[in-house]
Subunit: 417 residues, 2 copies
DNA sequence: GGACTTCGTAAACCCCCTTTCCTAACCCCT
DNA sequence: AGGGGTTAGGAAAGGGGGTTTACGAAGTCC
């Protein structure tokens, strides 16, 4: 019962691991890969062979080896395929098209006007934008390996239904089916929390870590959980809803209806409230504009503005308590601060958070945990969504296909992991 | 990197699964086992064969099968081995000797007097008690498969060092080495949180669940995490320290030095404080006796005492917020309330907690989660510790030993699980 | 007693990883 | 230029594991 593990999963995990490593350090040798992954040379060689045959990587020359036969080098074949990540957020839709080295080849960003949030409108919006990035990038459609879509709220991956999207009051929208009608590429659906976590796992600070927590600081707040080297989804794919954990019983009212949720103190609106409470008339405050306020705070930190310092410190105090909870519970190797608020406030916030977490967390788990900023430059939800597509493309490779690969086209489900 | 998974792990997990199932439903057939575990009949048959050869189970007759060959039945061979669980707690040491059906064959309980908490004293204490239960049960020593020891605080399993035990101010005590000098059986060391979780995973409400949280309510408070069908340890084996999560920022002072920890509200001393705050002169309060106070509260609930009802409701309110955090974060299938406070307050507490959690948790994860009381009748830390020993005995079975098993005695490390 | 049913073992097969062996490819030195 | 020496990497063998298939075993039913 519970979770069925098969030897195939091991293969898939190893394939991921090898490709991750190649992407991270692109001209690399089989020797290096074996050392980095802990796999035997033979296994690495066969996996590299698979990836070569898929044209995801190419041989790019040789490297001297102390006196013997030179090492063959392989690198990502950037043009070996394209991945599309779609980040459907509250107020915008980002679509990015990546090559296999995860460079952005084309990008489209559109605002969602308040009245346009019906599923049907959203879907045709997204479909049009996906089409436009493909042409914009000058890619043949056949090269698109898949499209990952990040949508807020709860997503049932098996059915592709957006069970609940808080912002637009969506209930049980069969999003995957709707998208399939307009988009011919393989589709992968999940939410931004998990997308961000997978992005960090593949390309960011969680790479090579067994246990990591990716803390998402945006308008909303949440955590993506990497446990045992893979994404933790929970039984109904809704793990990681950290934003509505209580840190101040009977505290501030949250949009979820409860009081004292983490989000009400460290989400962008919460930070604005922190600012308003500590210095009501501050010029840093842009009442109706979260982005501007957070940017103003960041500016303030640069010039050592005492108001900004106080607000960041207050915020870090809440954040520290909340993250300490995560450290105590999960005992992760690394906690990654991600999303736009973390990116905007950057190092100053990080320094305060580190201190605050150290005050709240137990010494032993704390000693084992590193707290870092995300190094992902673009929208992590986009990148993560694209990563789901990459994982999907890698999922069922090299299966029983006999000699003639084209004859036995198996009808495959979207990958479950 | 990260976590290395091998096909051997699959085998071990399946072995666990099959034995768990047999213990749970003791006269059972291979057919039933295959259906329950999802394994093929052939795999079940070989696994059952292994267990038979180990004499952990025996064939116990046949069962009619609709018109065909009767099914062979197997059952736990209770006398096929003995397991010892040691629960070293703040004020007492419990030692229980189990047969393979996990019945208690012998039990010893000794109080630890305040002055006797030096590691050396504790170790000889434990060793003597272990010896006494073995003779008391009339078991030959050879049949003891192992001794599991649960000790509070942080434990490094690789080195067997008790890194930090808060109650007695132990620092980096090489407990495993000390015990090895006195106890000849295989030893397994961990803390009560994880022991309780494993006990529930094997014999309790978490059996067959992929994701479960075992909430420990005693003097201290913590959570054991079952994720992906196995125990989650975290990077330094200290995951699950839920008791010091903040639910009331700047709330009650905790012994950990922080304020507003869950433990200060729902640990036994916290509950006493809840009582004292809501009705200072209550006769339910036994100032220096946690056990008596909790028992008095339980009695009060039975006769609908309004003071008791209020205290339990207050406690459940805190507990509800804390458990809701776990539900939101982990999205588990089941939350199990365990340990002596939960056992004492039982159903009335459970009812209040369910309600409180439902108020605080997000609807979607909440809908997928069941909250139940532990059904383990004895000390869960003892049972869990014994389970570690059972897992250890099962870990490296059927390995390459050629024909003559006795010649190739491999020197094996304690299992890392 | 034969036909039918069902259980459970044995053998064949597929997947995975590792170890071992051997050839390929390069260096250096004579 | 032609051997050693050295390292890379492919091929084959080997050890785990799980599943499918085939078949004998052990009953029931007619």
């Amino acid at each position: 019962m519970s979770v069925k593990r098969t030897s195939r999963d091991i293969r898939t995990a190893n394939r991921y691991e090898v490709l991750r490593q190649i992407i991270a350090e692109s001209p690399t040798s089989r020797q290096e890969l074996a050392a980095a992954t802990g796999l035997s040379l033979a296994t690495v060689a066969t996996l590299v062979g698979e990836l070569l045959e898929l044209r995801m990587i190419t041989e790019v020359g040789f490297e001297d080896s102390a006196g013997g036969r030179p090492r063959g080098l392989v690198a990502v074949n950037a043009s070996g395929g394209a991945l599309i990540g779609v980040d459907i957020a509250e107020t915008y839709v980002h679509v990015e098209l990546f090559d296999l080295a995860l460079n952005v080849l084309a990008r489209a960003e559109e605002d969602v006007r308040p009245g346009e949030s019906l599923p049907g409108q959203m879907v045709s919006h997204v479909a049009a934008t996906v089409g436009s990035v493909v042409t914009q990038a000058g890619i043949e459609g056949a090269r698109v390996l898949g499209v990952g879509v990040s949508v807020p709220g709860q997503v049932d991956r098996a059915t592709g239904i957006s069970e609940y999207a808080p912002n637009w009051d969506w209930h049980d929208v069969p999003l995957l089916d709707l998208l399939t009608e307009h988009i011919a590429y393989p589709l992968y659906l999940d939410n931004p929390l998990r997308a961000g976590a997978v992005a960090e796992l593949w390309f960011g600070a969680a790479r090579g870590r067994g246990d990591a927590v990716v803390v998402n600081l945006g308008t909303g707040v949440g955590a993506g959980l990497i446990l045992g080297g893979g994404l933790h989804r929970g039984v109904s794919n809704s793990a990681g809803e950290w934003g509505h954990n209580t840190i101040v019983l009977d505290g501030r009212l949250c949009r979820c209806g409860n009081h004292g949720c983490v989000e009400t103190y460290v989400g962008a609106p919460g930070i604005m409230l922190n600012l308003r409470e500590s210095s009501p008339g501050s010029t840093l405050l842009h009442p109706e504009d979260q982005t501007a306020t957070i940017a103003a705070l960041a500016q303030g930190m640069l010039r050592q503005d005492p108001v900004a310092i106080k607000v960041v410190r207050d915020t870090a105090r809440y954040l520290g308590a909340g993250i300490a909870d995560l450290v105590n519970l999960f005992n992760p190797e690394v906690v990654v601060l991600s999303s736009w608020v973390a990116a905007a406030l950057g190092e100053p916030l990080l320094a305060e958070v580190r201190e605050a977490v150290a005050r709240h967390a137990l010494p032993r788990p704390m000693a084992a945990t590193e707290i870092v900023l995300s190094t992902i430059p673009t929208d992590p939800a986009c990148l993560g969504a694209a990563t789901f597509a990459l994982e999907g493309a890698l999922q069922s490779v090299g299966q029983k296909s006999g000699k003639k690969r084209t004859t036995t086209v198996k009808n495959r489900m979207a990958p479950t992991s």
